[in-house]
C-alpha cells in the first residue's frame, strides 16, 4: 500500500487544493471534502476556544477552551499532513493527544486544589502574582 502511495506522489498536482491523489487512494472518504474545509473547521474551533478563554471566568470552562484550541491545531496538522501525503502531521497529533491527556489530568487536579482554597471557580479571585 505504501508503494502505491509513494508511486502516486509524482502525479500530484503541485499547487491545487484538490488532493487528486487522495481521491484515487481513498475514493469514498475524501470525495467531497477539500483542504479548505478542514482548515475552516479548524479556524472556527480555534476562534471559539480563544473567545471562550478570554471571556469566561470559570476555570473548568477556560480549561476546556484551551483543549478546544489544541484540537483545532491538531486538526489543521492532520489536514495538512494528509494533503501533502506526509505522516508527520498525524504522528505529531498522536503525541499531542497523549501529552494533552496527561496535562488534562494535572490541570484538573490543579483546578480542584484551587477550588478547595477559595470555594469558587472564579479565575479573577487569583491575582496575587503581579509584575
Amino acid at each position: 500500500m505504501i508503494d502505491t502511495v509513494l508511486s502516486g506522489m509524482s502525479s500530484l498536482p503541485s499547487m491545487t487544493l484538490v488532493p487528486s491523489l487522495a481521491q484515487t487512494a481513498f475514493p469514498d472518504a475524501m470525495a467531497s471534502s477539500t483542504l479548505n474545509h478542514y482548515l475552516f473547521v479548524s479556524a472556527v474551533m480555534f476562534a471559539l476556544g480563544l473567545i471562550g478563554f478570554v471571556t469566561r471566568r470559570n476555570l473548568i470552562i477556560m480549561f476546556l477552551c484551551t483543549e478546544l484550541m489544541f484540537q483545532a491545531a491538531g486538526l489543521a496538522m492532520i489536514a495538512f499532513g494528509r494533503y501533502h501525503m506526509n505522516f508527520d502531521g498525524q504522528t505529531f497529533v498522536i503525541f499531542v493527544l497523549t501529552i494533552a491527556a496527561a496535562e488534562a489530568a494535572m490541570a484538573l487536579a490543579l483546578v480542584v486544589l484551587l477550588f478547595r482554597k477559595r470555594e469558587s471557580l472564579d479565575a479573577n479571585l487569583w491575582a496575587e502574582l503581579k509584575g
Binding site: I2, D3, L50, F53, V54, R57, M62, A123, N124, W126, A127, E128, L129, K130, G131
Partner: protein, 767 residues
C-alpha cells in the same frame, strides 16, 4: 516495508566497511613500520620504560583516592622507576652500539591532504627511537629519578598524605614526559614530552601552593617557557614544510642529501638558518639561557628534590638534547649562523649567571644560578662543535649537581628551611652531617673543575674545543673561550665560597622559619645537643635534624656516581664513553663535511679538521696539527693545565676570603671586600636588576595596556550593551503598574492582541 529495511541494512553495512577499511590500512601500516625498522622482541620492554612511570602516576592517584597516609606512594614510585632504570640498562646492554632501534607502539597522528604527495602527508607515530643520545639521556634520567625519588620519600615525609601523593604523582608524570621527550622518534613526540615536562615543572615548583612566592615562581616558569616553546613550535612546523617529515630518520636522510623535500638545494634557502635559530629559541627557553634564564632561579621555590631532578639534572638539559639531536640541521648551514649564536648565547649566559651566583646568600639560589651557568657551558660546547664534550658535561653535571642540590636539601631539611649562608657555619662538626658534608665536597670539587674529577674532564673537553674550532668557523669562538675560562674561575670561587662558609669553619647556626615541620621529632635520638648556637630566640630548643638512611644512602650513591663518572672519560673508542654514545647518534657529524662547506664559503676548511670527533682528546691532537691554538699551545694538550690552574685560583681566593682565619660565621674579609666593591656588589646581589628591568619593559606596559583595555571595555563596550538592555527595562518599569494586574484575562487579552498585531504586520509585509 522490506525495501526500507533493506536500504537501512545496506547503509549500516557500507558504513561499517567504510570504517573498517582505514583501520585495516592503518594496522597494515603500523605493521609495515614496525617490521621495516627492525623492531625486535625487546621492543615491548623499551615501550615499558615510559609506560611504567605513567602507570605510577595513575597508581599514586589511586592512593590519593584512598587517602593513603603511609610512605607507600613513594616506595611504589621508587620501585617502578627502578624497574624502568633496569629496563633502560637492559636496552643499553642489548644494543649493538651503532644502529638506532625504533619501536612504533601505535599510529598517533596521520594526516593526508591534497594529492598526498611530498609535504602533504604527516605521519607521526607514538614511537620511540633509541640511539646513543637517547640512551645516554635515559640512563641518567631513570637512574637519577629513582635515587631522587628515594631521597624525596624522606625529604617530603612531613607532607605524608595527599601532599605526598600530589608530589609523587607529578614526579612520575615528569619521568614519563621526559622519556617521551628523549625517546620520541619524531619532533611531535618530542614536543609532547617537552610540554609535559613543562607542566610537571609548573606543578612541582608551585607545590607549596599556599606560599605566594612558589605560586608566582611556577607561573613565571610556565610563561617564560611559553615564549621559548613558540620558537620550538614554529621551528617544528617549518621543519615539516621544508623537509616534509618530522620523523628523525627521514628528516636526517633528507638533510643528508643537502636538499629540501622539494629538491631545492638547502644552502640557498632561508630555512637552513631560520629553523635552527627557532629550535634554539625553544632550547634556550627550556634550558634557561640568555633572555629566558630568569625563571630558573625562582624555580628553586619548589621542593629540593624537584630542584635536583627537574631544574638541575634532567629537564633543563632538554634544550641541550634538542640541539644535539638536531645537530644535522645545525651543521647543514654552511655559515653555521645558529651555532655561532648558540656559542655566544651559552658563553654570555654562563658568565652572567656566574657573576650573580658570586653575590647571592641563598645556597639553593647559588646552585640555581650555577645550573644556568653550567647549561651555558653545555650550549657553548655544542656551539663550538664539541658535541661530545657538551653531552658528557650534561651527564657529569646531572650527577654532581644533583649531589649538590640534595646536600643543600639535607641542610635545609635539618635546619628548618635555613638556606642563608650567613646563618650557617661549620656543619662538619654538627653530629649526623658528615655524609652530607662529604657529598657536598665531592659535588663542589666537580663543579669547580678540580683536577681528575668528572666535571674537570667534561669541562676541558668543551673549553679546548673553543680554540680548536677556528674563529672563522664559529664567530669569535676563541674569545668566547676566554670568557668561559674566566667563568670557570668564578665558578670555582662561588662554589667554594658556599663550601668554606657553610660546611667547615666554626660551628654556628640559626634555624629557618619552618620550625613547625620539626615539632613532631624534635627530641629524636639522632639530634645534636651541644652545638654552639647563638642568640636566636629559637636557638635554645632547636636541634638540627640529621638526615636518616634514605637521604644518606642517596647522597652516597650520587657522590659515588659523580666520582665514577670521571672514569667514563677513559673508556671507549671515541674519546670516552660519551663520545661512543654521541658517535652512534644523530649528534655525530663528519667534520670534513663541514670543512667542505666552510671551505666553499669562508676558505677555512682545514681549521675545523679537529672538530667534534677529536673533541677533548689530548692524544688525538698529535696527529691533527692543523687546528687552532691557545697562546701558541695545543689546546688538546694544555687545556688540562690551564683549566686546573684557573680552578685552583678560584678555590684559593675563596679559601682566603671565606675560610682562612675565620672564627665566626661572618666573614669580615669578604665583607670588607664587598664593601670596597660597592655598588657592584649590591648590583650583583640584586641580580643586576634584570627582573626589575623585565618588569619595567614587559610587565608594566602590559599592565598599563590591560588596565586601559579594561576601562574601555567597562565604559564603552559595556555601556553600549547596557544601553540596549536599558531601553526595554526602563520602558517596562514605567508601564508595569498599569499592565501587571495579576488578572489572568488581562494577560490573555494582551497576548491575543500582541499576536494579532504581529499577524497583521506579517500580512502587510507579505501582501
Amino acid at each position: 516495508m522490506t525495501g526500507i529495511t533493506g536500504t537501512i541494512l545496506e547503509t549500516v553495512l557500507t558504513t561499517a566497511f567504510a570504517v573498517a577499511d582505514p583501520a585495516a590500512e592503518a594496522a597494515g601500516h603500523a605493521g609495515a613500520h614496525g617490521g621495516g625498522h627492525g623492531a625486535t622482541s625487546g621492543g615491548a620492554l623499551m615501550a615499558l620504560i615510559p609506560l611504567l612511570p605513567l602507570f605510577g602516576a595513575v597508581l599514586v592517584g589511586v592512593f590519593a583516592c584512598f587517602n593513603e597516609k603511609s610512605k607507600l606512594p613513594a616506595y611504589a614510585t621508587v620501585g617502578l622507576l627502578a624497574v624502568a632504570f633496569v629496563l633502560t640498562l637492559i636496552t643499553y646492554l642489548g644494543w649493538n652500539g651503532h644502529d638506532p632501534i625504533q619501536v612504533r607502539l601505535w599510529d598517533w597522528i596521520g594526516l593526508e591532504w591534497g594529492s598526498g604527495g611530498v609535504g602533504q602527508t604527516l605521519d607521526a607515530g607514538f614511537a620511540f627511537y633509541f640511539d646513543g643520545l637517547s640512551l645516554l639521556w635515559m640512563l641518567f634520567v631513570t637512574g637519577l629519578a629513582t635515587l631522587i625519588g628515594l631521597y624525596a620519600s624522606e625529604y617530603m615525609e612531613h607532607d605524608a598524605g595527599l601532599g605526598y601523593c600530589r608530589f609523587f604523582g607529578a614526579f612520575n608524570l615528569f619521568v614519563f614526559s621526559m622519556s617521551c621527550l628523549v625517546m620520541g622518534d619524531n619532533l611531535l613526540m618530542l614536543f609532547l614530552g617537552w610540554e609535559g615536562v613543562g607542566l610537571c615543572s609548573y606543578l612541582l615548583i608551585g607545590y607549596y601552593y599556599k606560599k605566594k612566592a612558589a605560586v608566582d615562581a611556577g607561573m613565571k616558569a610556565f610563561v617564560v617557557n611559553r615564549i621559548g616553546d613558540l620558537g620550538l613550535l614554529i621551528g617544528t612546523l617549518l621543519t615539516f614544510t621544508t623537509f616534509g617529515s618530522l620523523e628523525f630518520t627521514e628528516l636526517f636522510a633528507t638533510i643528508g642529501h643537502g636538499s629540501t623535500a622539494s629538491g631545492a638545494p638547502l644552502d640557498a634557502t632561508w630555512q637552513v638558518w631560520a629553523i635552527p635559530l627557532l629550535l634554539m629559541m625553544g632550547a634556550f627557553g627550556k634550558s634557561a639561557q640568555l633572555f629566558f634564564y630568569v625563571w630558573l632561579p625562582d624555580a628553586m621555590e619548589g621542593p629540593t628534590p624537584v630542584s635536583a631532578l627537574i631544574h638541575a639534572a634532567t629537564m633543563v638539559t632538554a634544550g641541550v638534547y634538542l640541539v644535539a639531536r638536531m645537530m644535522p640541521l645545525f651543521v647543514a648551514d654552511t655559515q653555521l649562523i645558529a651555532l655561532s649564536v648558540v656559542t655566544w648565547g651559552g658563553a654570555i649566559t654562563a658568565f652572567w649567571a656566574a657573576t650573580i651566583a658570586m653575590a647571592q646568600y641563598d645556597i639553593k639560589r647559588i646552585m640555581g644560578y650555577s645550573t644556568i651557568s653550567q647549561l651555558g657551558y653545555m650550549f657553548f660546547g655544542l656551539g663550538v662543535l664539541a658535541t661530545t664534550g657538551g653531552v658528557f658535561h650534561v651527564f657529569t653535571h646531572a650527577f654532581f649537581k644533583a649531589t649538590l642540590f640534595l646536600s643543600c636539601g639535607a641542610v635545609m631539611h635539618g635546619f628548618a628551611g635555613q638556606l642563608d649562608l650567613r646563618k650557617l657555619s661549620g656543619l662538619w662538626k654538627v653530629p649526623g652531617f658528615k655524609i652530607v658534608v662529604i657529598a657536598m665536597l665531592i659535588g663542589c670539587l666537580n663543579l669547580a673543575g678540580f683536577p681528575f674529577t668528572a666535571g674537570y674532564f667534561s669541562k676541558d673537553m668543551i673549553l679546548a674545543e673553543a680554540w680548536v674550532t677556528s674563529d672563522s668557523t664559529i664567530w669569535g669562538s676563541s674569545w668566547a673561550g676566554w670568557l668561559m675560562l674566566l667563568t670557570a674561575g668564578l665558578t670555582a670561587y662561588y662554589t667554594f665560597r658556599v663550601f668554606f662558609r657553610v660546611f667547615v669553619g666554626p660551628v654556628e647556626y640559626h634555624p629557618g622559619d619552618d620550625l613547625h615541620d620539626h615539632a613532631d621529632d624534635a627530641h629524636g635520638e639522632d639530634h645534636a645537643h651541644d652545638a654552639g648556637q647563638h642568640g636566636d630566640h629559637h636557638a635554645d630548643h632547636f636541634h638540627p635534624h640529621a638526615p636518616k638512611w634514605a637521604i644518606n644512602l642517596v647522597l652516597v650513591a650520587l657522590a659515588g656516581g659523580s666520582v665514577l663518572a670521571a672514569g667514563l672519560y677513559f673508556v671507549g673508542d671515541h674519546h670516552g664513553w660519551a663520545g661512543d654514545m654521541v658517535h652512534a647518534s644523530s649528534a655525530h657529524f663528519d667534520p670534513a663535511h663541514i670543512g667542505d662547506h666552510s671551505a666553499a664559503v669562508a676558505g677555512v676548511g682545514d681549521a675545523v679538521a679537529g672538530g667534534e670527533s677529536h673533541a677533548g682528546d689530548a692524544h688525538a691532537g698529535d696527529t691533527h696539527a692543523a687546528h687552532g691554538t691557545i697562546l701558541g699551545l695545543d689546546p688538546h694538550k694544555y687545556m688540562y693545565y690551564i683549566s686546573a690552574i684557573v680552578g685552583f685560583v678560584g678555590i684559593g681566593v675563596a679559601f682566603v676570603l671565606h675560610f682562612a682565619g675565620r672564627t665566626e660565621a661572618a666573614t669580615s674579609r669578604a665583607d670588607s671586600l664587598a664593601r670596597a666593591m660597592e655598588p657592584v656588589h649590591t648590583w650583583a646581589e640584586r641580580k643586576w636588576y634584570v627582573d626589575e628591568f623585565y618588569h619595567f619593559i614587559i610587565v608594566t606596559p602590559l599592565k598599563v595596556i590591560s588596565h586601559l583595555f579594561h576601562w574601555f571595555d567597562k565604559l564603552v563596550i559595556d555601556g553600549i550593551v547596557e544601553l540596549f538592555g536599558g531601553v526595554p527595562k526602563a520602558s517596562s518599569e514605567s508601564l508595569s503598574p498599569a499592565t501587571q494586574t495579576g488578572v489572568l484575562h488581562d494577560y490573555a487579552l494582551r497576548m491575543v492582541a500582541g499576536v494579532a498585531v504581529v499577524l497583521v504586520v506579517v500580512a502587510i509585509v507579505l501582501y
